[in-house]
């Protein structure tokens, strides 16, 4: 039943690559933003908070269109990046990763922020009296204690990135082998007369990947929780 054609395999592998890159690149930023929002009070905090959550409430097409305006080849930012760093987003898989990363960001940040907020800062004080600088306190106390939230955020972000459709197709279109993810491929297949069986195969693959990600995240979260609460 799961006899995928080379084109379908390409879409599956591309989806995995885009989601993995989007999640991996977003994660350090996500942790930094979560820490800022959880711990610091600064001017414009609520604006930053709103900005991060915007992709969650905006129609994805709007986010995709905004990305097109900002990062298109002829857009100032897109032209600057292309001319100076050779980074091109428009109609490339990297652009799909950018769109997925931005769409997934609020889901990635939230659990991390919550887990950082739940950490007893007295433990961090204790670490500093033992000689740990702020950076070391973060690396050896804050980060390990936030690990369950980081795992949950990564998993949610990855799932969102994997399923992202609207912003991606608006920003980088639906080019087989370059920007055509599983979702876009399924959409395309539903638009042609004899695409049903192929669409169904991709749906099955999609379900398998999502379940595997869920099970893996659950397993990691359990291990992390066991580490935190003693054995």
């Amino acid at each position: 039943m799961l006899d995928l054609s080379p084109e379908e395999w390409t879409a599956v592998m591309l989806s995995l690559r885009i989601a993995a890159v989007a999640t991996a690149v977003s994660l350090p930023f996500g942790i930094a933003v979560a820490y800022l929002l959880a711990r610091k009070n600064f001017w414009g905090k609520s604006v930053l908070d709103a900005l991060i959550h915007l992709p969650l409430v905006l129609p994805p097409v709007v986010t995709g269109y905004l990305l097109l305006i900002a990062f298109g080849r002829k857009a100032p930012l897109g032209a600057f990046l292309a001319d100076n760093f050779g980074i091109v987003f428009s109609f490339r898989w990297t652009g799909a990763a950018l769109a997925c990363g931005i769409m997934a960001f609020p889901l990635l940040v939230r659990p991390i922020r919550l887990s950082i907020e739940a950490i007893d800062t007295k433990l961090e004080d204790a670490a500093s009296t033992l000689g740990a600088s702020r950076l070391w306190v973060f690396a050896t106390v804050t980060l390990p204690l936030a690990l369950p939230g980081i795992i949950a955020g990564t998993m949610l972000g990855f799932a969102k990135a994997l399923g992202e459709f609207g912003a991606t197709i608006t920003f980088v279109s639906n080019i087989p082998g370059e920007t055509q993810t599983i979702s876009a491929a399924i959409y395309t297949l539903t638009q042609v007369p004899d695409g049903d069986s192929a669409a169904f195969r991709l749906v099955i693959v999609s379900i398998i990947i999502s379940l595997a990600a869920l099970i893996a995240a659950e397993w990691f979260a359990r291990r992390a929780a066991a580490r935190l609460h003693g054995n």
Partner: protein
Amino acid sequence: MLSVRVEKALGDFTLDIAFTSAGGATVLFGPSGTGKTSIINMIAGLLRPDRGRIALDDDVLFDDAARIDVPAHKRRVGYVFQEGRLFPHLSVKSNLDYGRWIGGHAADPAAFTHVVDLLDIGALLDRRPGKLSGGERQRVAIGRALLARPRMLLLDEPLASLDAGRKAEILPYLERLRDGAEVPMIYVSHDASEVTRIASHVVRIDGGRVTATGGVELLS
């Protein structure tokens, strides 16, 4: 020698404290809510005084006039908290080793064994803090502070969360610590019976002021 002279506005009262501690165990004694914990937090660098000066021997830790405020992690002042505050994600052994490791010092098995024996915590090394009793937890917390090689040890009601039996279990270790003259101690307590055996010097504190200094007779 530790010398402390600090002022700090704390909610509804102002802390205005001056005392010195020449070694042994100095007990900051007084009712709850009189700012004793704030005083040792200021010595540790966890709370910033509004004004004053804190010096340990020739080393100025805080001086508002000279704009000196050494960050907590550079003060080398050990702190045993009321509730232990062991790192839940690390084993007892890693908790004990944390200060040495973070300071970048080579392992010193002799010092480690000495402290583990002194506090009788050898059987707990592979456990997680979550599985320790209150008394065990506090002994590990004392060991963790000692093994960071502090120049002085601050203890904030380290026995307050324990029942009478557990208190009696830990007191001998604290006496050993004092008599070994390993590090001078500042010991915060509101319970005279707990500190009578430990105190070599008493600073009585009430309402944010020092009301008397002297020996154990002040505890009665």
